[in-house]
Symmetry: C2
Subunit: 129 residues, 2 copies
DNA sequence: GTTGACTCTATAGTGACTATAGACTTTAAA
DNA sequence: TTTAAAGTCTATAGTCACTATAGAGTCAAC
């Protein structure tokens, strides 16, 4: 299978696949005579793993760690749990930050009522302080 | 006042100040004989305006728009309101996305209990599907 | 044999900074 | 007065996870 088919099967772009290879997340595969990458089902699995992680906003660096962990099948998976826990905490923190941000923006929004003129605008006034 | 003092007064880094100038958000100021930038209170105001906007996650491009609007003091400020409204909507959307992400991560987390071994780890198993 | 679809590498761009390198200027102490 | 330290200058590269080109090569069908 060439890169175009892999891209369609996994709903990744071709550039992204090549990027993951360059970043060491996908194994390098053998090439055809014309230097085309040739993939098999193993590549599909690897790529879907990455996609699944990315859909959960797990960074490429974290994915690299997960791959490394996965390749030591006899060790405990405590560090997997730790990674996911850390990730959940970060998401939670970001949600709280954004909630506060929204609160601030709503306060700002209330400073102006429609139809005013720029020089009297409460929003611009507030932002200038 | 030289750039170092402005940086301290506004709690910006020197690089960021120069970056904002390069991006056209801060006026270019006159220089000393030794080519040092010389600022006055006007620069403090401009910089605090930018900082205030940035603390609300308003992009540099949006700040440029706000500056442009502010410089036409007799027009209506409807577009200021529109910009803030748009911004609030985006933040809201992002919060919802992150909440869903957190939900997914928690489901994932439950797939594993501590003390297991990598090859039986429910999290890695789930991510591989 | 030529068109068109596909793939290759290498490079630059995104946003909002941050971090250097290497040179110059100014201020303070010895 | 010399010299060391601190401050500033420009230019350039790095961050993250892609995305988008340019220009060249490969392959299949007509
Ligand atoms: Zn994470
Ligand atoms: Zn207004
Ligand atoms: Zn916005
Ligand atoms: Zn586990």
């Amino acid at each position: 299978m060439k890169i175009g088919k892999l891209a369609k099967l996994t709903a990744c772009t071709i550039q992204t696949i090549r990027y993951y290879e360059k970043e060491g997340l996908l194994d390098t595969v053998k090439r055809s005579e014309g230097n085309y990458r040739l993939y098999d089902s193993r590549a599909i699995k690897q790529l879907m793993f990455i996609k699944h992680c990315r859909s959960l906003d797990i960074t490429l660096s974290e994915i690299r760690q997960l791959i490394e962990i996965r390749d030591s099948p006899e060790t405990t998976c405590n560090n997997v749990n730790a990674l996911v826990d850390r990730h959940i905490k970060q998401v939670d923190l970001r949600i709280e930050e954004l909630k506060e941000l929204k609160r601030q923006l709503k306060i700002l929004r209330r400073k102006c009522t429609t139809g005013r003129v720029v020089k009297d605008c409460g929003i611009l006034l507030e932002l200038s302080q």
